[in-house]
Amino acid sequence: MKITKKIISKIEGEATLKLHKKDKIIEFAEIEFWQYRGMEEFLKNRHYLDACVINPRVCGICGHSHLIATAKAIENALDVKITKKAEILREITLGLEIIQNHIKWFYLTLYPSVKQKDFFKALEFAKDIAKIIALIAGQFPHNSYAIPGGVTCDLTNLEIIKIKNFLYEMFERYQKIMSVDGKSEDLEELFEDIPKDIGRGLNRFLVLGDNLYFSSNGDFKFIREEKSTSLNKNVLYKDKFYEVGPLARNLNNPLVSSIYKKHKDSVYTRIFARLYEVNLIFEYLLKRIDEIEINEKNYIKPTQKNAKGYGVIEAPRGSLIHEIEIEDEKIKRYNIIVPTQFNLSNGNKLNPSPAQAALMNEDEKYADFIFKCFDICAICVSH
């Protein structure tokens, strides 16, 4: 048996992949993250509102999800209800963050691990998606417009009209990347020289958030974090590893389900679900935007000062959990569990995480691709 160690970069940070191989076949893979930024410590003793500025900085590509999870955790702690209008606006900006994430991941992270491909169209698309977020939230990346009690903005119908037309335009443009009936030339081109059925995971799926059109199939109270050999913590649900993310949360869609029946939980199904999800998010947002009542309040001021709470959402890469303990308006404890921790836990040979299972028994030449198809966010792990 031979063990090779490789630093995988360009995954919003870096990770170490140790492959145990026999004749080029991966028998086992160890996944390690070695960076730590201490964000939870940084939050301690600060006013809880500061978390709405600090937490988006967990990540440059999915920081908005951290903002929404923060606001939800504080609202849960302080027993605050937000208006339907504020809820819809958050759905729009979070949904759009997922979309810009997927398109950047597909063309900037995944494609280059296989072949060269023009990535400027992805940047162009993501830039325009970011512009719609900015119309509501002020800017992208790193806004703080979602605060406990609602949102800071006070839109007029001029912005609503602009946002809606922009959503239609972007939905239309997305059809060239993947159509509503699941056709994608770029996806098929990616798989010209790669088998579609490799990289099967654990075939166990978890959805904890119920934002957008997703419905959860579990309760975050069964989540347990455990020490791993590297700096990240493993995450288990009822003592087992589960796959989170677009495949997990779209299995009830007929088209995704038909691909799943054919290719199981392979790289192809995982990537298909991620690209197809964009269409479903566009459809959902276009439906929700019409429900906005412009005269409804944007913000209701919280009154409580002490409590514990949690916020769970479906972020670009899967279920994201924020837990907070507030005492006299100050943060006493903060804990963040990110989707990459679920998918890339570092288990053992008998009890591997989804990504480890996907790498096992595959040819080493596909390791980078299989690894990246989970859309890893190393920087989120090293919060």
Binding site: I54, Q116, L135
Partner: protein
């Protein structure tokens, strides 16, 4: 054929927000086509090697015992700076330390580990910096143009402005009408919500974010993210002293500010004291 200038973009302790901000620059393709991008932490490039560069771009703060690409981060940065002709520090982390550690040029208020390299450094702070600022710095260096820098090596063409300039809530500031709440069009965020606009060096409200908006325009206070003090504590609160803001807008004496504020408050602007869009008449 003339070879393209070599640009090496390295990530220190960061969140990659600076890179993702730069991705929003509408003509990013034109810039990338002019350069030979020998390494970037996210964009497709060749494998990383310690190499000389015409422009070194550093994103993120420095911290001891932190590994980057298998190297000790601070050693790696020292080598790369030495091998570069010009250095552009992008982001508040990289200039001052920001959220994640020490800056390259400064450590918050103090001189930083690489202060001695000041002559070849350009500071582009911001959390994140505006994509146009990053593009500006790259273009100016590529074209060998002289950049007027202030004492912290920030280009004056960007950082002579305050983020207050161009804010749509300016009239409320003039007449001292404070925002009663979040989520409302009316009122200035300087008095209650912690807005740092009048003393934050940045052109956010002049050139706008994503070409359409800014935080104060979306009802969020400016957090002073381009400054060495970012992120200060109590980001959504205005520090006051005897009921008046403890920090006075840049360039004004406390006495002058109080006189002007007193006069403005005594003369009510009725239009600004009611809802901007009145449903009744």
């Amino acid at each position: 054929m003339h070879s393209k200038p070599k640009v090496l973009w390295i990530d220190a302790v960061s969140c990659y927000g600076c890179s993702h901000s730069f991705y929003n620059y509408p003509q990013i393709k034109e810039i990338l086509n002019k350069i030979d991008l020998i390494y970037h932490p996210l964009l497709p490039t060749k494998e990383f090697e310690i190499k000389s560069s015409d422009i070194l771009i550093i994103e993120g703060a420095i911290k001891s015992n932190f590994l980057r690409l298998g190297f000790d981060l601070i050693d790696l940065i020292a080598k790369l700076i030495k091998l570069s002709r010009k250095v552009i520090l992008i982001g508040t982390c990289s200039v001052y330390g920001g959220m994640f550690g020490e800056g390259i040029l400064f450590n918050k208020e103090d001189k930083g580990k690489f202060y001695k390299c000041k002559d070849k450094i350009i500071s582009i702070p911001g959390c994140p910096p505006h994509p146009e600022w990053i593009a500006y710095a790259i273009e100016m260096v590529l074209n060998d143009k002289k950049i007027l820098l202030d004492s912290e090596n920030r280009p004056k063409e960007i950082y002579s402005y305050t983020s207050h300039m161009g804010c749509v809530r300016n009239e409320y500031f003039e007449w001292k009408v404070d925002a009663k709440n979040f989520g409302e069009k009316e009122g200035c965020l300087f008095y209650e919500q912690g807005c740092q606009g009048p003393y934050t060096h940045s052109s956010c409200n002049k050139i706008l974010w994503n070409e359409v908006n800014s935080k104060p325009r979306a009802g969020t206070p400016c957090f002073g993210c381009t400054e060495k003090t970012f992120p200060r504590k109590d980001l959504f609160k205005t520090e006051t002293f005897m009921g008046i803001p403890a920090n006075i807008p840049l360039g004004v004496s406390k006495r002058a500010y109080l006189t002007l504020a007193g006069v403005a408050k005594s003369l009510t602007n009725e239009r600004l004291n009611k809802r901007l869009i009145d449903e009744d008449n």
